[in-house]
Symmetry: C2
Subunit: 656 residues, 2 copies
């Protein structure tokens, strides 16, 4: 039975939850497919996450391998293919706890960087798990700066082999997933040397474990890097290579090759490498960042209408904590952000698809913009969502801190997204470099991509809003964001120019501006996110009920951003102090409005209880019962601790 406090929230929804779900899915058909996949996966006991919070790193790994192997069978049974409509939903349904994601990257890198012959040899084996691959790029001493990798591959012309070595400890491969315990092969990145000359970093297929008995191959030292904040199910590994020889054919050679006589040939463009990273970053945002944030919002908001604490009025019943303004102010902006970024993901996907079409026509013009946008949004969204999940966790008080709430593991996992696939600060600076370039070009009257023409456009110097209701106009707040982003980019460009003109060297000048450059890049992404949300709402006009609540969320997302970053809007007087008070008033007014629909808004995300795996967030709101039930299953309750016999019994005074 559903907790009545939660049930009552659903009776007053201002819109149809089912319709919102379908719209978010991109159509009823997709909703149906997604639910069928989820149902098939969740009803299969192999995929159960029931005991996840009680398992050791070893147990998590074992379960993840089992799931990965079983998933292949399952897909075959169900008739799901990699290009079928179900494929998009499998990862969501499995909820991330599955091995061999790096095996997929292994395959992708061979497909993208390998010759036709290499693809024909390795891909069929890999796709049937006849070997397990990994992707060994990062080293102990090198993550973001790939040119600095220290692993070497020296071509031996006499045997027609490459000799791979880890010349020192910092050159050890470190972090690759699936490598610590599973992989039999890896794509290893190493500095290529031919006849004493270094040709830079290249990828080589290296066997690391025996296919007979899984023992390490000669010259290989490998193992697991030990416990992490999360990803216990992944065997992130280390790898040392000591005079490991691989045949000449094992260097991936779609774009370059060492020929038998030792001559080095390169063909094709390397620019396309951007494109892999871009595609990984976009798909990562959906699965690893936005979806977990939607889950965290679902858990925290449902809990906040079940949890009653203290009184809003003397003599009244204790209040639902979501009725406190401070609780609304914690959670509802995160909910709005989850929606905002869900729409940004569509925006990026479209940008990507357009880019891909052009690339297929050998037009690479969109690559810089795509790279800048995917980098900047990766940084901004992972940062924002990590903080959002933390806010959700803390907003659930003590119970949020229990693993059984589901929130700690969402948090410790999403936190990693700020670091992997490009460290966020470095990504923001890449976006900033693009923005500065475009600003300079636009100022000089040269053409720039449509998304950044605003940098050169002259805008009114003052926000025209006259009262708090004016700030509910998307034109008003979108213009404010645009003005602010353009100002931050142009003022940082000016600082950079000043430094250069005063004789500071180019690299020093850049370094001295990086704090502001990163801020400008964030501002740009924030502007695009607001603009895109507003446009998404506008397009919704045929669905009035949904459009209305989406408009409220869009307003909240925009005004929360102005309220929380008021300094950058006030700085040049574009928004005055009096107008900022209007922003604050409008922002705070929105909270109780959206609060009314808060539960339907998270229900529409359509997560099953199993996928949330949270004692606080289940659909029925039976929070306390579930916490108690789950706690009893903890291994700490299965036996009397040896600590009693060993340490306590001798002390306790039995004559009391």
């Amino acid at each position: 039975s559903v907790n009545p406090d939660l049930a009552s929230e659903r009776q007053t929804a201002s819109f149809s939850v089912e319709k919102l779900t379908a719209w978010l899915d991109g159509g009823v058909e997709n909703t149906r497919t997604r639910r069928a996949v989820v149902e098939a996966i969740e009803s299969d006991p192999v995929f159960s996450r029931e005991n996840q919070y009680f398992q050791s790193q070893n147990e998590r790994y074992e379960a993840a391998v089992r799931k990965a192997v079983h998933l292949q069978k399952k897909m075959h049974e169900m008739g799901w293919t990699e290009d079928g409509p179900e494929y998009n939903y499998i990862y969501r349904a499995v909820a991330g706890d599955v091995a061999f994601l790096l095996h997929r990257i292994f395959m992708r890198s061979i497909s993208m960087l390998g010759s036709d012959k290499q693809i024909a040899k390795w891909i069929p084996l890999a796709s049937q798990y006849q070997l397990i691959g990994s992707y060994a790029q990062t080293e102990l001493g090198h993550g973001t700066y790939l040119q600095g990798l220290e692993t070497t591959a020296v071509f031996d012309i006499t045997t027609q082999e490459f000799i791979l070595n880890t010349p020192k400890i910092s050159a050890m491969k470190w972090w690759p997933g699936d490598m610590g315990r599973s992989a039999t092969h890896t794509v290893a990145f190493a500095q290529l040397y031919v006849q004493g000359k270094c040709y830079g970093v290249h990828p080589f297929i290296v066997q690391i474990r025996s296919l007979q008995d899984h023992s390490l191959c000669p010259g290989i030292i490998a193992g697991d890097i030990g416990p992490k904040m999360n990803f216990e199910h992944v065997d992130n590994g280390f790898l040392m290579l000591q005079n490991v020889r691989v045949p000449r054919e094992n260097m991936l050679s779609k774009f370059c090759e060492v020929q038998p006589d030792g001559s080095y040939v390169r063909w094709g463009s390397q620019k396309i490498n951007y494109f892999t990273m871009t595609s990984v970053r976009i798909s990562l945002l959906a699965d690893e960042v936005i979806l977990p944030t939607m889950k965290a919002c679902t858990i925290a908001i449902r809990y906040s209408v079940v949890r009653r604490q203290s009184k809003l009025k003397p003599g009244a019943q204790e209040a639902k904590i979501l009725d406190y303004q401070t609780q609304q102010e914690k959670l509802l902006p995160q909910l709005a952000a989850a929606y905002a970024f869900y729409f940004v993901k569509d925006y990026l996907q479209e940008l990507f698809d357009n880019g891909y079409r052009e690339i297929q026509r050998k037009n690479f013009d969109m690559l810089p913009e795509l790279h800048a946008f995917s980098s900047g949004f990766k940084a901004v969204i992972t940062q924002y969502c990590t903080s959002a999940v933390e806010i959700c966790l803390r907003a659930c008080g003590g119970h949020g801190y229990s693993l059984l709430s589901g929130l700690p593991s969402l948090y410790t996992k999403i936190l990693a997204s700020c670091i992997y696939e490009g460290e966020n600060t470095i990504l923001l600076l890449q976006t900033a470099r693009f923005l500065i370039k475009c600003f300079m070009a636009a100022s000089a009257g040269q053409p720039v991509p449509p998304s950044v023409t605003y940098l050169a456009a002259v805008k009114p110097r003052k926000c025209p809003a006259k009262n708090k209701l004016d700030f509910l106009s998307p034109d008003i707040y979108t213009d404010a964001y645009q003005h602010m982003a353009a100002r931050l980019v142009s003022s940082t460009a000016a600082k950079l120019q000043d430094l250069l003109q005063s004789g500071v060297k180019k690299h020093d000048a850049w370094n001295q501006c990086t704090v502001q450059l990163a801020q400008a890049a964030k501002a740009h992404c924030h502007y695009i996110a607001v603009k895109n949300f507003a446009e998404t709402v506008e397009k919704l006009e045929t669905q009035a009920g949904i459009q209305k609540i989406m408009k409220h969320l869009c307003d909240l997302f925009a005004l929360h951003g102005i309220f929380s970053n008021s300094g950058v809007f006030l700085h040049d007087g574009y928004i005055s102090g009096a107008q900022m008070d209007m922003v604050t008033a409008s922002y705070l007014d929105l909270l109780p409005i959206i609060r009314k629909d808060a539960v339907p808004l998270v229900d529409a995300f359509d997560f099953t209880d199993k996928s949330l795996n949270s004692a606080l967030g289940s659909y029925d709101g039976q929070v306390y019962q579930r916490l108690y039930e789950w706690a009893q299953k903890s291994p700490t309750n299965k036996q009397m601790s040896p600590a009693y016999e060993k340490y306590l019994k001798p002390l306790l005074h039995s004559k009391l």
Copy 2:
């Protein structure tokens, strides 16, 4: 041998590290005592934390019990007493991983709330671990709102006993430490009923486990609440009471008693209860919040001069990551904050000591101020430091995410401090209530405590700074903080008045202002922290070398705060946009200055390698060697996973 990149940082210190350490300790004598305690504890293998990152919850608990029991023996051996000089340093030396902290709260509550007879009976037994106590206040359904506790204690006049019951699942005691597996007794808080009348919440001593065999007593259901984000070593527990009878003498009765005939008598003041919370909050800040932040800064800063990545100049060696402005901007403000809050702790201690002197003279006038300050600073410092530790973790990239860095466990532990001992939002609102009251009183010409007289004082409407150097004047920035705090308090008071005058009910009006009230309370604490830092620096005049670097840190703390919260300073034009550019310039200029002394500044915290327990943060900077060495010890490397035989072997293609 020390990594040369780290060694070189120490050769250029602008001050004597040893002198700074002694000053932070409050004298050379204290430093000596502290080091002796740390040495004694760390040289004892029982206290080793070597395998901590590899242990299960069960193993952590067992080790913590062993340590707690051994510690008592150790103290006796070493001649350390609870009122000796060594006592302050024991907890720091053990580094937190010890059981029976709630046993201490059990004892403290009996000492403070029990009659002399009760103290004489229970304290000697407890202090020798002849029983293990816990403190059962929080319930599944009630944390912050104690009046809402649902456990009942009904007086049975015929047997002269209290009958304790858990009437429903939400009334179950939940979270008390030491209760899940260890405690034989607890102080349980319950609603007292005598002859049908409820007298509110009172504390009762209840036995929960047998002293013979540690089995649960009749009517008791208890166990461990399962895994949490951290505190694996603590057996946080649940407790249900079913018609559990305790004698009349078991109600703690220093302030009130149920007499044999059922009459209820109360004497003394309950106000003093504030004082326990105040004292707990202040000591918690030092041990659980500020010290861990200092550790995180030590780890991240040392790592950031060992880690080289990418190039600042083309053709140069890869740069130490601390030479990048963005890395300085991440870490150095956290370092400055660690110092700032270390000094706030002294400020609060002094306030507390003064208050305590007055209380002993039966003068309770300082209690509201003490309560407001300890609440506000608990919230502000735990929030700030939690974020600081997260920044340190992320600033170490991938390696920060490994448990072996020590940072994840610092983070997951400090995060809890935002929730326990008063949820932060609720604490801020208590501070705000005090500030609003004082503002009203001061505006009406009534006397207020000296710390808040500024609320009524009229200040110049514009900051007088003319250039960026002016912002290195403590008067200039302290005035800016003061003006800003006073403005936020007064404008929120005005909003509250407006709402009341427009007919909004008192409680609704308060709720509608809580977001701004919390902001005002934070602003007040931030102002006091800046002012206190500036005063601390001023008093240092005899130690010129140290004063100089502390002045830089104070400037950084203050200007970082203005830079990051620029909106509240710009809002009414007190600081103009042009002045904000000066603040930014001065702030960014400070980074490379403090960066030069960054390593000596963390060395002065004087943490041993064992207490940091970090592969990244050791004194010798042998980061990569240690990561590799420690990873090899992981249980994931001790055996081949069963996953190979079960799932992989049947697939892998051995004829390749």
